[in-house]
Symmetry: C2
Subunit: 181 residues, 2 copies
């Protein structure tokens, strides 16, 4: 029997699932980000700290993300558009899920690529109240090379979608509260 290695420590995740069954408070995570306005619609957002397993946690590095609007919106294009960040989250979440499920099922991956397209009618954000502000729909297409049948690959992707945090966050409503300090 060949050893499968997709680089995912599945046993640690299965152990975590068991441990958290008896300690649900440790499973309460809070992810955090801080944005600073630069100029125009350009901002920088920093991520490093989060809360989980009952205590403050930290990524090993701080990451800084620029967001702006492109030149066709009369802006300076100093970074990707805010709504594009949702596509980054969606593609990376589903890809992480494919790798994890493949590891758990003993399927060796060779390559995984996901193309994501989000259709957006920009009349909404420009003030047309008959048009929604966000995406109309999003399509994700996977190209996967793996030691598996097409049916097994389809099942990998389906299971990834079923347990994806970002897929859920985009397909179901979340309560967002915005306030001024």
């Amino acid at each position: 029997m060949t050893t499968i290695s997709n680089g995912v420590n599945v046993q640690a995740l299965l152990d975590a699932r068991e441990a958290l069954k008896d300690a649900p408070e440790a499973a309460q995570f809070t992810w955090k980000a801080t944005s600073t306005w630069q100029n125009g619609v350009h901002s920088t957002t920093r991520i490093q700290n989060f809360y989980g397993l009952g205590q403050e946690q930290s990524h090993k590095n701080e990451t800084v993300f620029d967001a702006d609007h492109p030149a066709v919106f009369a802006a300076e294009d100093n970074g990707v558009t805010p709504i594009e960040y949702l596509l980054v989250g969606l593609a990376s979440c589903l890809t992480a899920g494919v790798a994890s499920v493949a590891q758990n099922r003993g399927i060796q991956l060779r390559s995984v690529e996901a193309s994501v397209e989000g259709n957006h009618d920009i009349r909404g954000i420009l003030g047309d109240t008959d048009v929604r502000n966000g995406y109309n729909d999003i399509k994700v297409t996977f190209h996967i090379d793996a030691d598996a049948t097409p049916q097994e690959i389809e099942a990998l992707v389906a299971q990834s979608q079923k347990r994806s945090a970002v897929f859920d966050a985009l397909t179901n409503p979340t309560d967002v509260t915005v306030s001024v300090a």
Copy 2:
């Protein structure tokens, strides 16, 4: 009268709104991203091209985003977690909106900072079907220094939320289709 300058070309946006009323097909944008699996749950996502105003468009630069899981998830922490990208999009979208609305209302901004926190019960993604996979709720808190009354600042933030693409995408459901090529 003092000239207000937040760096937003509001006139161009107002002109675009008028122009798109008569050309709704030009308002149909498609935002795009491509993710490549690296190892484990680490992937890189590239963004450069998009479609809009009836033709292919391009950011001036390609941006590459790393996503991974942190060490507490037995991963290598080569980037922020996929679900954290949603917070980047939300904070930057609302901040861009505050700058745009302030410009339109003749309010000079001095500083805008947004802190975002997303509460997430990770038992969902670990397989507990009684717990949702995504965020339970998200809180955004603005700190704004501007030549305006507290009421005017509250109104800026409220109007930004009302026309925010990412606020809509997170608080309302979007159809997401995932397939294998």
